[in-house]
Symmetry: C2
Amino acid sequence: MTAEKIVWQDSFASRASRMNASEIRELLKLLDQPGIISFAGGIPDPALFPTQVIGDAYASILADPARAAQALQYSVSEGYLPLRRWIVEHMASLGVPCDEHNIMITAGSQQGLDFIGKLFLSPHDTALVAAPTYLGALQAFNAYEPRYDTLMLEGGNRTPQSYAELAKVRGGRVGLAYLVADFANPSGETVSLEAREALLDLAEALNIVVVEDAAYQALRYDGENVPPVLALDIARSGGIEHSRTLYCGTFSKTLAPALRVGWICGASEVIAKLVLAKQAADLHCATINQAVMHQVAEASYDAQVTRNRGAYKERRDAMLGALARHMPEGVTWTKPEGGMFVWVTLPEAIDGAKLLARSIEECQVAFVPGGAFYGEGRRDNKLRLSYSLSTPEQIDTGIGRLGGLVGDMVAGR
Amino acid sequence: MTAEKIVWQDSFASRASRMNASEIRELLKLLDQPGIISFAGGIPDPALFPTQVIGDAYASILADPARAAQALQYSVSEGYLPLRRWIVEHMASLGVPCDEHNIMITAGSQQGLDFIGKLFLSPHDTALVAAPTYLGALQAFNAYEPRYDTLMLEGGNRTPQSYAELAKVRGGRVGLAYLVADFANPSGETVSLEAREALLDLAEALNIVVVEDAAYQALRYDGENVPPVLALDIARSGGIEHSRTLYCGTFSKTLAPALRVGWICGASEVIAKLVLAKQAADLHCATINQAVMHQVAEASYDAQVTRNRGAYKERRDAMLGALARHMPEGVTWTKPEGGMFVWVTLPEAIDGAKLLARSIEECQVAFVPGGAFYGEGRRDNKLRLSYSLSTPEQIDTGIGRLGGLVGDMVAGR
């Protein structure tokens, strides 16, 4: 038999590749090329990781025979109890009263999206997502073969009936609504209080769950906090056990991504089902990493968040300043109050992917073209710029070059 | 809204619970109860973990700024290259020539089963599994809503046509064949060379993949090594790129489970699709744990395997000796050449679950009743006994009590 003859289900992989996953991965490799100024990766700056505190935590846990035996052994699927209790306190500080039965540990918030898709989406069901939205959410949901319909969070959504009817025509029902409520990837925008309440109205009318991806929530640089969708849901429903929102949190953007520790917070009855999904998928998250994350969060979560906010704010300011200085007329962009991304809209005629090809060739500047971030209604004159890994000087140089190239393309050069 | 009104898909969770997952989890909690002699958990003895070597690896990686920055950062979905290269050498030592494009790192072998189910099983497809088989494989596959048909590995399988026809009647096709080839969980038995070749014949006739779960393969205490199914497949097909077998390996039973590091080895074209599944599910395994596992495997894989074999062999011998001394006539059991389990068959009239209830109450001895390990054709007069966590003295005491109780039940007391 040749490899070509192996019978597999192409559909999953081809749907994933439709989202340009491999294109994105190729782009990210550019980060390693000397001379390239990259605004492509949406990843934290390793210079900000609390490496010493993490190292001390591994060392102290492994130096204690009883703790080491526990930290290296199989453990429960819902996660390490002291860490879940720390997260309970953390959620309370965000306006979400809950207890440890409302928390399950996941391998980053990404795994939460996968399990929620597994539980709430069947083939032909419809997922409501913003356009653009986080590529990885679409990839996670795609495995369960949904269709997508577009949430218009700020613009005023369509009627519940119109969402339900289109889902029915497509052979399923609306399964969930997904949003990155704060400093979204890729747009950098934050969903207003009014739009959050309207989304909860819509979800109530459709009787669906709301998936709140809180990956960037802690990274606010200015402006007013907006309560998590889950907090608003609890305020109206009377308690987390009556809520329909599943909050996906992570330590990836505050402490470090590579321990792969995140969480889902929601009604305990749903969490119990997600725990069964976790058990079936990979048994549990690395026990030792959960114990380390607990110790690191206890010791330095607040200090670390303060430090990250300071560093990234400076870079965001540099990016917004450079865009204002260097971009030609007809180019617009978002003004994020936090997170890692600015979303740029080019004149209609300019294609982000074509700009990228020329930008790498002529300017040694990388970014992610916007087309990849759409479940439906793809627009090609968009760019995602990340400022998280660059110095203010690199940002000014890179945006200067990019602005010059856009000016050339606008002028037909 | 009440929690009861939340719309979720019950089917996945209820199918999982049909497998008695929560029953099993409750049982495992007994491990922590003082006074209970537990043969329930199939988990390694933490006293055998290479804790010092693991601690040294974390410390040395985190003490080097460049390595620390890499180890704490996002990384590629296919896994840490030096670890994949170590696994390439390891697979070669098992008779499987391959390169790093044939290896993807997974969160234990469990996650390999989940991704393979995701790729090769659609609702109504049929998975071929032995009866009994590993509970966790059934849980992983259940999320993709397959039916099961029974592999009779040693007894001579049915014709390919009969498997294909039943699968068609059920509304799908045969998606895969799954086996634990060596020292299976729960039976302790090893599939013979002849049965492995016959399975490959069957898989070739059905044009399906074979999933070889190698969780216990390194833990052989006596008898002759049998080549991995993947090695036999390569020998007949001419190379790994022409093979249909996906080998799921793990460090959980040789080094330590809680770092959650395992791998899939197979044709690179299939691995590339599994990498997309990994990216969508949780991006990648904990970078630091992969780097640590590489360092630990380099330093002490062989020594660790030798140490584990010695310790577990003594316990297996104690278990087989105690069963021979204490079990009444009419009780039979397997004679494993490795692994962690002995599979006991009681007289037909005795129900393993009822025996467990009395055993805990009257003897303070725990085990897993066999009914949970069947995809089809459930048998209730079976027990799974694990000797991995008990001393020879505990084994003799526990089996002595259990044998006395079985004798009572046989005698109608």
